[in-house]
Symmetry: C2
Subunit: 387 residues, 2 copies
Amino acid sequence: MREVAVIGVGLSPWGEVWESSLRTLWTQAAVSALADAGVDKIDAITVGSMAPGLYVGQEHLGALLADELGVAGVPATRVESACASGGVALKAAFAEIASGLADVMLATGVEKMTDVSGDECTAALAAAADAEQEVFYGATFPGLYAMMARAHMERWGTTREQLAEVAVKNHAHGALNPHAQFRQKITVEDVLNSAKIAEPLNILDCSPITDGAAAVVLAELSLAKKLAKGRPIVRIAGIGHATDRIALHSRVDMTTIPATTKAAQKAFSTAGRAPKDVNVVELHDCFTIAEIIVLESLGLCPPGEGGKQAPSGRTALGGALPTNPSGGLKSKGHPVGATGIAQIVELTTQLRGEAGPRQVAKARVALAQNMGGTGASSVVTVLEVAS
Amino acid sequence: MREVAVIGVGLSPWGEVWESSLRTLWTQAAVSALADAGVDKIDAITVGSMAPGLYVGQEHLGALLADELGVAGVPATRVESACASGGVALKAAFAEIASGLADVMLATGVEKMTDVSGDECTAALAAAADAEQEVFYGATFPGLYAMMARAHMERWGTTREQLAEVAVKNHAHGALNPHAQFRQKITVEDVLNSAKIAEPLNILDCSPITDGAAAVVLAELSLAKKLAKGRPIVRIAGIGHATDRIALHSRVDMTTIPATTKAAQKAFSTAGRAPKDVNVVELHDCFTIAEIIVLESLGLCPPGEGGKQAPSGRTALGGALPTNPSGGLKSKGHPVGATGIAQIVELTTQLRGEAGPRQVAKARVALAQNMGGTGASSVVTVLEVAS
């Protein structure tokens, strides 16, 4: 199997981007990644997007966006696994290069979420859950993650303050990231006093609604070395993808995410790495409880100790395991289809040593974890500086 | 690059299937394909589906359907390229096996289209066109293909009767297919006298709205040979995928589909084959004019002579180039995300010599052409009996 490296990264503006349409946001990210890579020819495109039909009345994003980029003709495919759509777009592009079907690919993600009302947006996101067994009965994602939080608190003694500490840390990181949607620092009191959404989660435990796009250029490793021009080469050392029972009530245990554990095992074994080797992490903190559970499910801390990680400083910049240096979904924003690709953008920037004030010192091995629904889909990627 | 073969095929019931939901249809096709292949373990799943969010309020089909099949845990990804979603699901699964990421894959397609009103269905299908540049101005697919038909008639002298002959032929084929949605034979007069939809297209020029699913099991070739149990092995000899300007008004020429030509060139060159080698074809006759244009774009007849193929008998069962022996989209039905996979089901059945009364004699090399929108996405696959 051929090896694959990331040779270019790009982001559109993220936030409530009223002045741009989906295609414009995507093209900004794509052009930026191609310029960063220094290539003007790509063999194929993947586009991760969760629900453009529901958000902007547009499916068929592959052809639409290849056309918008000015490369109509190039094979272009949308892939979707709810909020893990970016992760599966990366994996699909990885497979095409690994197989020899392509040498250079543009792997992207995009979501334009603010062109609909809040209720319509919640309904579109709910399409990641089981429509017949969860959504029809009134479940929404804040409600589902609230149940996971309550179960984790009950089982492991995780506290309301520990949840808040995740948001505080990620906002502190995001304050250093010019691409973040919310760059203000917040306090534990801010989180505790913010509007209640679904007990025990308040509004500042929730990632925001975001318009945005992200893109990475991938190349076969030997070609990547030729194109590197002295910059560090970031290799995809391992990628794992797994699913789980989709409905939360079908799971044996709501306090862990087995799809993330399975995907991580695959990614680590392919990379020949273990959790102890990881220097920097971007993970899917769609809600504060998610970061806590995911750290445990990845094997980056023991079961039940996820809540202690942010308060201890371990997962902050300067700690032993900086987690979500970009600000994470919480502060950087969460355009759902783009998130999995944006994680790779951040980690590539970190491994290149180009992250400026939020740079993680001596980052050589990085891990990205992206998930859909309440964890029914998960993609875990291990990135390394190639020697 | 590793070689890939089709080792099992399956279809759900197709039609207005009121008594089944999307997940039930899909699972029927998947179980049927796995039973046909004689395997009970798969490494990963791809699901082609165009607009389940708009049709049934459900995205995240990968995880949902892996769960429904009882294999939660297995990586499962939805892929989408409008009505070419099945084709890209095949290609994505092909890439995973070719790369070595998987040995056995389930490549599938599904659409549940009759749970919404006719207007909602037309709107969902329109999401395959350019929402901002076509749909907002009132374009729908019958209207867009009507313009293509008018342009083809104007340029090449194609007649209203020649369009009708395509529908007559495909219904004659579908009458022999127990899986077809509409099994009645029709006449040229029936077509000419049927309700007008978008001049010059009548209702009997249009493929129907269909609920249905299709599945194929793919395996690495040497493994496929071990599992064959004496049945012919159907190899994917070449697969091509291309895009084009998405909006019809952006194209230089409305009477040809360049994405199909590009995809075919790639598929033929990989297979080491030419149009003259093809014994049987399944192509994307979403409207009668589409079959005419696609035959030309594939190089299976000279430009401008597509209209003469059905009246001459060449593309009928018993002719030199039987086209759409299944009945095609017109008679077999067109659950949009499933169609590209169902074409592979039909051609595998033909190459195995298991097509019963619609069997094409001495079929050794087969071609499938699946497209999205007005041809902005196209996937062409060459299948062969492996020696």
